[in-house]
Symmetry: C2
Subunit: 198 residues, 2 copies
DNA sequence: GTCTATAGGCAGATAGAC
DNA sequence: GTCTATCTGCCTATAGAC
């Protein structure tokens, strides 16, 4: 049979990751076959193995990329706020978290839901990245407690509670609904501010 | 070959559901085979089909059972509080939600994570049950607003934010840690109370 | 770098014996 | 009600041609 497509393709690698991100989020890692990914990329299944050693590595790459992206983006945002007081930094984190995560719902979903499909070593690695990000919020809360700007009994738990609350947005918000994302941010910021006693 | 086990077993049905609940939560619906379930139940794969028409029905049954259990338990709890004021009802919901869900982490995880594996009809059914439960919280919040006991700009969103915050407990709390569940409940109740402006 | 073809194995579900 | 055996089909990953 004649080959159906020629070689050449510097974009096949990124395309594989983009397709996998969408399919893994939609159906779950275990439910997606390499053949499905290949079909949507537009190559045969065997060709995928020129870009990835195996299916699991593809998943790890997607999760790692997402976590380092979040970290880098928040670090960059924080640098623009060096002189801001602790309340403004908390507001910045709240709005940043909602907006950044709403822009990549597939990556967010995968980074949380597919942790159980990682080997222990990969799991530890990904969770370390997540901790570094969450510590960004914890640092703000602890500074607010020291400065007596916040009334918090347990900054570690408050960190987890706030992150949990903000993550909830991803489960229900759809653009084109009753509220703009800006309005949702403001409502959540109001709740976060009150919850920390500021 | 001789059969390895005799017939009779009124407990095989419940056992199948218990095993499936654990395995689906641990590895994900798509990653668990009927043979795996059968092995842990102690029967051959074919025998499972005396109890369930197919794999998907098993998943639906688990999710439906969980949702009706939550609804029934909260309804029962609410009936013991008929004369309580709105602040006490909100506290009761907060503590109930954390405690009830922490007692069945597997069912909670499945009921949230495996929604994408449902047919549209099943999805609608399960989501309707979830809405009925969440409306229990929304009713409290709206009553609190009417009574001017809470300062909330948007009860619908506050409902989702509070549920999201409380659900976060399931992702990190492990018994035997630094805090008892009672203490965690109290910390979260403190945040919920402040967040609604009570 | 992509193709075709295939190895080797496991999947969900069913049939018929007991 | 459970067994064994099996149908049919898809899975991941690799080999070798071009």
């Amino acid at each position: 049979m004649a080959r159906t497509q020629g070689s050449h393709s510097d974009i096949t690698g990124p395309k594989i990751r983009a397709v996998a991100l969408r399919l893994f989020a939609q159906h779950g890692y275990a439910a997606v076959s390499m053949r499905q990914i290949a079909k949507e990329v537009g190559v045969q299944a065997g060709a995928l193995y020129n870009y990835i050693p195996d299916k699991q590595s593809l998943l790890v790459t997607l999760m790692e990329t997402h976590m380092t992206d979040v970290l880098a983006a928040w670090t960059a945002r924080l640098e623009t706020l060096d002189d801001a007081d602790v309340l403004h930094r908390l507001e910045a984190f709240t709005r940043f978290h909602i907006r950044f995560h709403m822009e990549r719902p597939d990556a967010v979903f995968i980074a949380y839901m597919e942790l159980r499909n990682l080997t222990p070593a990969h799991f530890t690695h990904i969770e370390a990245l997540r901790s570094r990000y969450e510590n960004g919020l914890r640092d703000i809360l602890e500074e607010g407690v020291s400065a007596k700007a916040f009334q918090i009994t347990d900054p570690k738990i408050t960190t987890l509670a706030v992150i949990g609350m903000l993550n909830g947005v991803m489960t229900w918000y759809r653009s084109g609904g009753r509220l703009s994302l800006e309005e949702v941010e403001t409502i959540y910021w109001d709740m976060v501010r009150k919850a920390v006693g500021a």
